[in-house]
Symmetry: D2
Subunit: 339 residues, 4 copies
Amino acid sequence: MVVIMKPDFTAQQLQEAIAAMKAGGVNVMVSKGSETTILGAEGNAANIDQEKLEQLPGVERVMRVSEPYKKANRKYHPDDTCIPLPNGAVIGGNKLAVIAGPCSVESEEQIVGIAKAVQQTGACALRGGAFKPRTSPYSFQGLECEGLELLRRARRETGLPVVTEIMSTEYIDLFQECVDVIQVGARNMQNFDLLKKLGRETDKPILLKRGLSSTIEEWLMSAEYIMAGGNQNVILCERGIRTFETFTRNTLDLSAVLAVKQLSHLPVVVDPSHACGKAWMVERMAMAAVAAGADGLIIEVHNDPKNALCDGAQSITPHQFQDVMDKLSPIARAVGREV
Amino acid sequence: MVVIMKPDFTAQQLQEAIAAMKAGGVNVMVSKGSETTILGAEGNAANIDQEKLEQLPGVERVMRVSEPYKKANRKYHPDDTCIPLPNGAVIGGNKLAVIAGPCSVESEEQIVGIAKAVQQTGACALRGGAFKPRTSPYSFQGLECEGLELLRRARRETGLPVVTEIMSTEYIDLFQECVDVIQVGARNMQNFDLLKKLGRETDKPILLKRGLSSTIEEWLMSAEYIMAGGNQNVILCERGIRTFETFTRNTLDLSAVLAVKQLSHLPVVVDPSHACGKAWMVERMAMAAVAAGADGLIIEVHNDPKNALCDGAQSITPHQFQDVMDKLSPIARAVGREV
Amino acid sequence: MVVIMKPDFTAQQLQEAIAAMKAGGVNVMVSKGSETTILGAEGNAANIDQEKLEQLPGVERVMRVSEPYKKANRKYHPDDTCIPLPNGAVIGGNKLAVIAGPCSVESEEQIVGIAKAVQQTGACALRGGAFKPRTSPYSFQGLECEGLELLRRARRETGLPVVTEIMSTEYIDLFQECVDVIQVGARNMQNFDLLKKLGRETDKPILLKRGLSSTIEEWLMSAEYIMAGGNQNVILCERGIRTFETFTRNTLDLSAVLAVKQLSHLPVVVDPSHACGKAWMVERMAMAAVAAGADGLIIEVHNDPKNALCDGAQSITPHQFQDVMDKLSPIARAVGREV
Amino acid sequence: MVVIMKPDFTAQQLQEAIAAMKAGGVNVMVSKGSETTILGAEGNAANIDQEKLEQLPGVERVMRVSEPYKKANRKYHPDDTCIPLPNGAVIGGNKLAVIAGPCSVESEEQIVGIAKAVQQTGACALRGGAFKPRTSPYSFQGLECEGLELLRRARRETGLPVVTEIMSTEYIDLFQECVDVIQVGARNMQNFDLLKKLGRETDKPILLKRGLSSTIEEWLMSAEYIMAGGNQNVILCERGIRTFETFTRNTLDLSAVLAVKQLSHLPVVVDPSHACGKAWMVERMAMAAVAAGADGLIIEVHNDPKNALCDGAQSITPHQFQDVMDKLSPIARAVGREV
């Protein structure tokens, strides 16, 4: 951290600024020039109260040099984090991890049928929403607890681990029991109470979706919330960000995959279905995501997209999913991964 | 709602589309031209499943004509909603409602002192955070339950109703008891579980902040979530949206005040402190907000901004708050309001 | 400017970095700690080649402390710039400057009629587009040179100075002759060739609109382009920025008015018509702009909005313009201005 | 186009609306229900004056069904447009077209050296800026006409066609002579005067970069400006859009490649260098772009990035460029392209 003093600072103001930095556990270098005085922090500045420092009367500007996250930071954890699933699959390893399934769980027949189909095609986990965040209170909100039960049956039938979204802290115990990977949706990326409890009360892997208009730093800070609570098993999920473009539902930010792999040791998967909102775009954007370096994908697959209760426009059929998997093979090989 | 059929639709596809519209409770007008066939809904289209309609194979495009919110819609409730507070003040009435107080509750002395000061200057309610949403897990998270207790003491001392933020459904009962207006923060605007329960389990007024990059329609849909649950006492709060501009913390969208007053009957207040993030901007932006038609303001006031535990840079002192109130007078008069 | 060296920099890399800073005409303070080495520039860092510095192998990060604009910077020109018009009006003075007129010049009768009407109501200048930037090549592109001629006639009839948009360097001579204030549109804010020539080849006042998604710094850098060429008569115009909100055409950023008045000495006017795109919003947003501190307004007024060739939806009638002027009076007085 | 009438429209207002539609050359279907009256256009609605229609007093809303561009629209030109270069290369064909070269032309030795290097590695054209759009008037503005001359020499030495940016209409004749592909930069994407003249006064291929925060539709409308003038040789270039993310210079929007290939017949190339602003990201984003379906790439290559006069941080060396080309091979094969 670097602090620039105002041109007319007083000796006392300088002492206040130095004291505020030292309170964060760093040494302070003072560099006095004829016009400018600069204070530099030696050591980990993450505990300095930047906001407070900025409010001191003699301080002109405070500039952070290091990232505000620690546990999620690759600097302090150079090796890739790999997250094993109960069926032996690994998210973050050399093999591309493909999670597939419908937007919403609709019936036993539907979810079990899709689970079998995607398993056969090579998916390593089953996705399916039981609790659905919908913009309108009048839209289908998911089968809720019944949906969790149906996911459990699909898991029993296929052995596929189950990925589903949590929307409230009150269901953590239930998810602990029924679910293998707990998803935090884009709209809850900064639901800090939820993040804290997922850090403290479970060690299940958390699939943390990037917020609708979040920066990469904010996203990693949300991962930090979970990790600071004790749960180190965070999987990041890029699912498109809001831009002015309306042809696609969101704008898939594939450079974020590269950025996150450099800044953090956590695995990152890409959701081309929500990013684009159009089934015909999924195959190509999945290929691009793998080329960019994603550790995995999460793809919406539905047996009957035109009658899906939710997001049918972006769902592909099991047959199309097979095609996607076939197309991913040479791309994965080109970047040194297995499918 | 208007549906455009694809050029090569079949008779069966047309019937499917008509059926899907009728399932939403409307009559359907069919207009067949030589090149284009258009279906128009007669009646309230809010219950038509638009997504499903869009997925039908013969359908080219679905266009909504009416707003997707009903209870928050001025069309169905032409009169302004006015929300009374326990001390007789009203949010949404002819008198400008000014809520003031610190970002965070820090101590009894602090919160009671500020409460007395802002009451004397004409504030109608006291704000103060007990549970604080912070980007970093390592930042001060608020005094939590102790903070609520201190707010209660400030209310007891001054009679000022208390406005504070809720971050989790598990505290609704406690808020029901201690708090007069329950604030939902920008980051929780689409925490649908929280919204649903605030609709069903309390009838306290809810101050609903606009999300960081939300559209007005999404904001009103979040109000609709609360209202659909049964609680009609929603106060909208414009607090700036995220834009590319970084000089200000957010960009205050004052045209949203005008828009919301036309689209909805709900009262709207403006938070110039969070919008700008700079104390020196508060006075002028508060004046502009009143000129634009805001029903009220929510302003951060702190006795000692440079030592505030949170957001000191955007807090004004009680003395400056007095100045702001004085400056607001002629503006309020010019738009037909009392201060 | 502050430079942070990489942890493992070599002595030669340090010398390279110091040399690159000194090449920009500053002294360099070197502050070596056990973990971090910081270089600080003493003096005006505007001529340091920041990009080059960032590419040096030993350099971790370069942080600018001062603004990159000089001539537009209030630090070096504390007094407000006031720009006189030929009719004695002043933009940037104590009196609110209101520019009014149609989006496009359509006919002699139209432009002369509107000019007379707005003059009577207190406008200090006439706006009217002759060259129109349109998203579609198939839309009305303006009367072009004939439009300039009609503006000249309106000026002859009323004495009102004329404000109109230039879209190409080839017309500078013609504008020099016919026009009193040359407008640069939002889409040309970074048409650097145009800016350079308007700096070098004319000293007419330039009304510089903010780009569609420009930051304030970029906007001031565009002013700097004009001023660096020799023309100091720049009027800034806030006209709304692009956000995710679609209810309004753009989002009027009134905090930018405050920001620009602090960062720069240049006058700033607000265009509520283009910002909102809705005639019914103009009055209130004009009032808010004056409350926020704008030096003036530019308002679209058309005798027959529903038949306007361009932007009728955001144009008010001369009669409504009279109302707006009346409503502005008390607001202007409240902020110490005359109307 | 679909027009919804207001609930209380008069017979005369209906006639006005129908007349305004018919004036655009379409037939009008009238669909009267008990509550809603809808007008539908039969035929090409591109010539209807939508704005005027929206201003009619009886009209509630106007909704466009078809795209506003015609010449750039795949609907009317189903076959891919392929643009041949003088050296026999083709942009838009089966072979991936890779354009490479420095941000700026700096000297004969530099540009000729890089040209030879990238030619050997398989580039089909040489890029290099002679006129540089820079945010600051104090930054290096390019060698201008001398730069064009040096590009000509590089072309003479290698036979590589030359791609360079035009910033003003006054240089069109010179570019016509010296340049093979004329680039329009992101900041000039809506410099309509420039677009018009590039349509009318040359038939050289135009490489049209997407604007900083432009939608795909605006981008295609800018292509339409060029094509409406007579020049059909437009190459679209996705170069990243502005988002809230600051880790990358811009956010590369690879779904736009897919979108544009569906909406238009024009070829599209991707510029990973400007999109990311970081040399280490270029390889992976280039691979992702090819996987997504780009017809080509434009990559910044510099012999000595750390001493480049411009954009060194995003430039790769000729040696790294060789690596990129090698890595692209299997990706290109996987999508059915040659490198």
